[in-house]
Symmetry: C2
Subunit: 331 residues, 2 copies
């Protein structure tokens, strides 16, 4: 193993802490530090040895950081930070507003090409490994259907919607794949399924003092877009139960490609499935970012510059092993 890959973390929320922990578990990398837009002295890092710098300090670290992992949000932070930082660093991010990815790609690609940096955008698990498996499944089985199921996992948007209902003191919402739908797809039935048929929603709610449970339940299950189209269950629990049983951020899901091969008059059914069962959504996403940081560093070293998605990244570049090791040990 040569010199370690020097990683910087830009933004220090759940994702930034996940990257910090992931780099610590990765022998061929070292963490240069965390860069925060908050007052550095007010930020306590998870690990004792982690250095915390202000955002302006990034200017001093352009030669000290091999890859900067952008841990800001897709709504406010990345549209501004992605293009700006790709002009100065190799970057990796988890930009996840699916509909705006082409626009974001273009905004990062120009500055990265001009500066000779490599910027891997929109990695993680969806967009990310799920996207990768959708394309692999469709490329290998052109005759077939692709199904994506999410969950069991916490949906932040839906949890926020629950918490805004009058009478709700606190709460969390889980998206859960419909077992019936998953089983039909796994059997190779290739059903036509609407989003509402693929998922059910489960809410755990702490009521405010004096709030009426039935009124709250009704307000939730009839909420347009968020809950009305789904089979929704509402459980009322205490604040202690919420803290004890629902503090984690689990998630996951499945991508299934169900297709057929062989002559049209004698086809064979084929089912391709990728699934994740994540104890911590940000913990896993950040581990994906770290693996793609290794690839960004290597692609940049060989002159492969500009914005990239995981469709552009040869899988061997993600591994700390050499191509010779991979062929001998893993193929």
């Amino acid at each position: 193993m040569g010199e370690k890959i020097r990683i910087g973390i830009a933004g220090y929320g759940n994702l930034g802490r996940g990257v910090e922990a992931a780099v610590a578990r990765t022998p061929d990398m070292e963490l240069v530090g965390v860069f925060t837009r908050r007052e550095p002295a007010a930020v306590t890092p998870q690990a004792d040895g982690t250095r915390v710098y202000g955002w302006d300090a990034l200017a001093r670290f352009e030669d000290e950081v091999d890859v900067l992992i952008l841990c800001g949000g897709s709504k406010e932070d990345l549209p501004r930070q992605g293009p700006e930082l790709a002009a100065r660093f190799n970057t990796v991010d988890s930009f996840d507003t699916h509909a705006r990815i082409p626009e974001y790609f273009a905004s990062v690609d120009g500055p990265a090409r001009a500066a000779g940096t490599t910027a891997v955008i929109s990695t993680g698990w969806d967009p990310g490994l799920f996207s990768l498996n959708r394309v692999l499944g469709e490329s290998i089985l052109p005759a077939g259907e692709t199904y994506t199921f999410w969950g069991r996992g916490v949906s932040q948007g839906h949890s926020d919607a629950v918490r805004k209902v009058p009478g709700v003191a606190a709460g969390v919402q889980y998206t859960i794949p419909s077992e019936e739908a998953v089983e039909a797809v796994r059997r190779g039935d290739r059903p036509e399924l609407s989003t509402r048929e693929k998922h059910v929603r489960e809410c755990f709610v702490v009521l405010e003092d004096g709030a009426d449970a039935d009124t709250v339940r009704q307000a939730i299950v009839t909420m347009p877009h968020y809950f009305e189209p789904y089979d929704t269950t509402v459980h009322f629990i205490t604040a202690d139960e919420l803290t004890r049983d629902h503090a984690g951020i689990p998630h996951g899901g499945f991508v299934i490609r169900s297709g057929e091969t062989g002559p049209a008059d004698d086809p064979s059914g084929q089912v391709y499935e990728f699934s994740l069962k994540l104890g911590s959504n940000p913990g896993f996403t950040s581990s994906v970012l770290v693996a793609y940081a290794r690839a960004a560093h290597r692609m940049n070293a060989r002159g492969d510059v500009g914005a990239k998605t995981l469709y552009d990244v040869a899988p061997g570049l993600l591994s700390p092993k050499t191509p010779e090791q991979l062929r001998a040990e893993d193929l």
Copy 2:
């Protein structure tokens, strides 16, 4: 879509027929023909329009075939054909003798580099997509364990071993993942499992006239290496039942990476799983070969020559879509 990718098939057994059918399902490709070492007139292709040529005719098609898909066996055919044909064509193969892959890679790489061709070796599902997922899982979750389970599927080697037992007229062997072991791994238990604990074996046997069932069963279940180390079940059936119920070549399996992320004193469990449930093993393998043929053609066009494995192939190259389409539609 530009001009179609022109595919040749070298060798016409189960895999060659699978490639023939897969190319027919692939709008951006066309089949130039099948090349066989048998007498061409004695070979009846699956589809009416398929042309069949003798092996020597390959010399006339060096400018007519963009990618030649090698459908011979790993033991006798590919070690000789792979290097020889990579000197004349872009090639894709499914060389699957895991232990000899480095040697085979080197034997193909030299001629391919000298000739300026691109040769993707050892693709399919194992080696192939399973290898890809072993490396993805290990790269993303460096702290963890990887488990590969095979089945439920027909094992040719074990079926051959059953058929050589005195008193056996015909038979087939299925390798089946142990449900208990799979469940423990999926739960995130990270058990230590020997090969014998991961799989059970099931045999369906047609007896020769007058053969004694108990003697045959005993000979099978005590066979060293093949069956003795496993929990093996033997069923005796009629020749008609064998034809009716066991003519297919199903297979499949799972690759599971069970790992953890986050700080060592507060880790989160993460389970990554890839699985295949294949109605036809050669039908799926050949579909993977065809997708990698597209990638081989594109890599060659951009000057990326020599022997490659799927670790070297950016996933977007497998798809008929453009990078712009992939970012807009699949990411």
